[in-house]
Symmetry: C2
Subunit: 549 residues, 2 copies
Amino acid sequence: MEKSALQVARAAYQPKVPRVLKGAVEAKEGAPTESVGNQKEIRELFPNTYGMPVVEFVASDEKQAKPVNVGVILSGGQAPGGHNVISGLFDGVKSLSKESKLYGFLMGPGGLVDHKYMEITDELIDEYRNTGGFDIIGSGRTKLEKVEQFEKGIEILRKLGITALVIIGGDDSNTNACVLAEYYAAKKYGVQVIGCPKTIDGDLKNEQIETSFGFDTACKTYSELIGNIQRDCNSSRKYWHFIKVMGRSASHIALECALQTQPNVCLVSEEVEAKQMTLDDVVTYIATAVANRALDGNNFGTVVIPEGIIEFIPAIKKLIAQLNEVLTDPSTGEPRAFASADEQIAFVKGSIEQDNLAVLESLPSDVARQLCLDRDPHGNVQVSLIETEKLLSRMVDTKLKQWKKEGKFVGKFSAQHHFFGYEGRCAAPSNYDADYCYSLGFNASRLIASGKTGYMSIIKNTTAPAEQWVPGGVPITMMMNIERRNGANKPVIRKALVELDGAPFKYFASHRDVWARQTSYVYPGPIQYFGPSEVCDQCTKTLALEQAK
Amino acid sequence: MEKSALQVARAAYQPKVPRVLKGAVEAKEGAPTESVGNQKEIRELFPNTYGMPVVEFVASDEKQAKPVNVGVILSGGQAPGGHNVISGLFDGVKSLSKESKLYGFLMGPGGLVDHKYMEITDELIDEYRNTGGFDIIGSGRTKLEKVEQFEKGIEILRKLGITALVIIGGDDSNTNACVLAEYYAAKKYGVQVIGCPKTIDGDLKNEQIETSFGFDTACKTYSELIGNIQRDCNSSRKYWHFIKVMGRSASHIALECALQTQPNVCLVSEEVEAKQMTLDDVVTYIATAVANRALDGNNFGTVVIPEGIIEFIPAIKKLIAQLNEVLTDPSTGEPRAFASADEQIAFVKGSIEQDNLAVLESLPSDVARQLCLDRDPHGNVQVSLIETEKLLSRMVDTKLKQWKKEGKFVGKFSAQHHFFGYEGRCAAPSNYDADYCYSLGFNASRLIASGKTGYMSIIKNTTAPAEQWVPGGVPITMMMNIERRNGANKPVIRKALVELDGAPFKYFASHRDVWARQTSYVYPGPIQYFGPSEVCDQCTKTLALEQAK
């Protein structure tokens, strides 16, 4: 592998870890726990892994030194720091005993089921320390949900003498990790399962988990780009930039980027939903910001948009739900077939309710057409194909033209569009993520050594210097409740959405009117790995605000 | 202005300058020069500024210490380092005398004509040292070409006691700087004009100018993103990413990014034109790379595309030329009017030659439609509206589907698209650009002190440590020839395209077959400002290869 100068220099970085993890530890156990909701149901579903205590590691004199064979799986979308979880885990199991072995299952959970794996060696791990990506063993989206999969898994685990499995994933993957832990515990297979909180979306967090890894680096990478665009915007003074960032279910990324860069407008899906805003309300909100800045002669600006915004607008959500319904044949449950696109559109328009029809017809015609026609393999409307940033800027343009006629807009409006997703998911981890991930992985080895299963590896107090970070574990069942998913009730980890009464949103809300009218741009620049600590070692604004409360 | 931690830390950076510029200098003059082409015509057009010698500054005992009032203009698109040219110039003129003054004309050359300006003070410049963007005084695209403009300019220059003007711009702006220098010299107005070589496109370079500023930072920023995408691509192993980068006239950016990141495919417009490739040739070239990688089970990859590629395909160029022709009414020179879009398309198809019609009909129907319909205010086809990265991936998809039927393609093909332009133009300058720009600006003050006009500020030997850089000046007329522009012969600086027998392209060409088949990605990561010199102080691969010859 040919390496860049930065990769070479960065390979030598020794991640900072909590002081406690530098020596032998013992698990200090709290009181039994309850799930965040549906306690009775969750307890019944997880008889072997429910009610376990939260664990905090403290220094100990006693050395745990038994060798252990561990398997590791990367599940779902990439997030910066995955390689550091694995290198921390590697160093952790090797520190228990040189005889310990770490195996990686390839291309995600499917590797466990299909018995595709490799041993992770010293030479291999040294190639990947402090690097971005999940390419060391690959990742995949196979869901571990079925007994057949669990049974296929135990075959290879037994063959390799693996007694503990670490699953690095988001909320769904950790839910499944817990189901697997419960299954193996019930069967007394002697395999522990430990989860690690990963997702750039930042929506896997709660009282126990301060943040999911990758969020820090991804947001800093997107903020670098938004800052660069804002500097351009403020130099040429002629465009409004509509910038969409990842985040379908939650707007943490958009909000964090706004806190870092202070754009003129940032939409927050959770607020749009809570205020029951219509698409026209959203468009009017943006157009008003444009019109106000035009009064000051500023015909330029930036708008940050979370990827999922469209689906949070109640009227659109309702329209999509009905489109999915009418396009399905109730007798077969299959997508309806049509002779032509025109026939399909006519059918749709004749079948949906008047208010939904009105919403459909308020959309630009090509978007409306796309909504009526394009469906995914399950027959569902493909909302993700809509280029929301372009849809919004076009509707803003239309509204401003109307306002111009009415004398309510005196400026010019010209838009540029951007979408940032893949640009940040595999960035090399920031110091924060490098340290946090390495600690999560190392800590997972201590949960294993302590005999825990159905736990997630956690590190708390991460706004303090790493020395003072607090390692431990939380029972996954504690974070669960029952939710309706794909037409069935399921035990799931509750997703953390942006809280409108949380500190990050409140900070944003109290500043956004000034940011909207004035030019208050901040330019964060690229992630720095060397240099002053105030540049290199800061956590996200979201985390700092949340922990300051 | 609220600042990020990096901005604060970076403000303290003291750019490295050539040793010679640290003390008093004198101009060592070479032999009289000739223009690179059309010597007779250029000499006649520039009687007062033609034939001047190349200048190199050497250390001197004699201190030049007369105060001077200088004006500075940012012209055209933003490029990282513009603020450092101004801060170098500021420090330079102040080092001549504390009494010297520097004025910035606002929002580009228009500021000179409209008498919009501000004095650049110590406090102001300190806010902008080592930052990206042109926002200190703004930039604009007004062309300084007319006598009325020059005369309006001299009014304000006289009023402010300005005897030297520094114009920071690309090839066209420097051409105009030279025309202005000649005019003021002919009129004996006593105002010197000095140019500085700016453009991220990298196409303003020659025997005298090693590189244009901003190219280094912009390419490194795009390469950071391409590297991140490649790491994602190599982790999820399911997409081909089509990544378009800026560069309409030349492919230096695409080529440099390819040298930094080693993608599977990189198109070079100059090669496409030289080999007289058709659109189908280009599509086949990419599809072949996809098919070959599929043989190894690798259904993923990256394709880097220069923005201008479409216009370099001879058949498309010919089609566009004829579209422009037939859509213009010959009797009025105005765009033809049509009753409807369908009528317009029918007219176009009935009016163009058979081979052009065949090319038009080989395009996806919406692109063909767009080419026939959308025109800019001058009535020209809007080639820049075509999303080339999507056009190419769709045509590759169509070809692969055909090949699949024929048994010539065994894999899967799914594409993602990216376009990077505004993301890099205003990035904070890399150390290279920070040092280079500051030196160019400081050096411009020395050209002024030496009484030069019609010169461009140059710094040579920039692949060596900055101490050893060689400052000087080159007569702008030396870089000129006569070219046909907008239907008239004009003296212009010759644009530097990618040379197919130059070292950078040759290096690329000798490696690309391996890069195409294998996964040879390099991940440069974000620009670093602190840390080891091999990480922070490297120039572009293009420059290193060119200067190594």
